[in-house]
């Protein structure tokens, strides 16, 4: 299980190299979140709560691992200043069959969205705005 919170850019391909390889793993699912350039966005600033962030993510990753019997889990989430096109975060799950890997990845994404202490600010030509949490992200947790 790997959990990283970092400012540096990461390479999804390199991170997935060898991930979940061996044993009885038959499925690896990964998701990468990317900064959208919609609406003339110049950059995105991500703030987080050091300590709480790592602990919260490690807890979600452990829960996903136990619940879906995953062979491995990887979560990387960035903070700091990012420009459109850059990866913000990624999750990867490895399991025996694909359904568990897909479900566990969705579970992790839903929890990261509204329970990991990150806050995004968008900076564009019209100034800066804190991204507001969406009600649908909150209700998405109900299905788990």
């Amino acid at each position: 299980m790997r959990v990283r919170v970092q400012a540096q850019r990461f390479d999804t391909g390199a991170e997935l190299e060898g991930f979940g390889a061996g044993g009885d793993v038959g499925a690896v699912v990964s998701f990468t979140g990317v900064v959208r350039g919609t609406g003339g966005l110049a950059r995105m600033e991500i703030e987080h709560y050091p300590g709480m962030t790592e602990n919260a993510i490690a807890r979600f990753a452990q829960e996903a691992r136990d619940r879906w019997g995953l062979a491995d889990v990887l979560v990387i989430h960035r903070f700091g200043s990012l420009v459109p096109g850059e990866p913000i975060m990624m999750v990867a799950t490895a399991s025996r069959h694909r359904v568990a890997a897909f479900e566990a990845a969705e579970f992790l994404m839903d929890w990261l969205k509204s329970r990991a202490p990150f806050w995004k600010k968008e900076i564009g030509a019209d100034g800066e705005t804190w991204v507001a949490a969406k009600d649908e992200d909150e209700t998405a947790l109900d299905r788990w």
Binding site: M89, P117, A132, A133
Partner: protein, 82 residues
Amino acid sequence: MIDVMYFAWVRERIGESRERVETQAATVAGLVDELKAREPRYALAFEDLSALRVALDQELCDFDSPLDGVREVAFFPPMTGG
């Protein structure tokens, strides 16, 4: 004494990211009332508690949670990770 931390627009409104606070409050809500009474910037930041979340020693809690034994309180808007 208790460490109080602010994130995102709460930090911007208050103008600090962290401070040591002397408090007699028994709950988070009591601490919020003390802070609001200090200066308008606090009153503005804590205007609408439904728009805020609180963590006690890095665990999400409620505004009626007790402060007994707590070392670190953090106030922030709903999280927007992912």
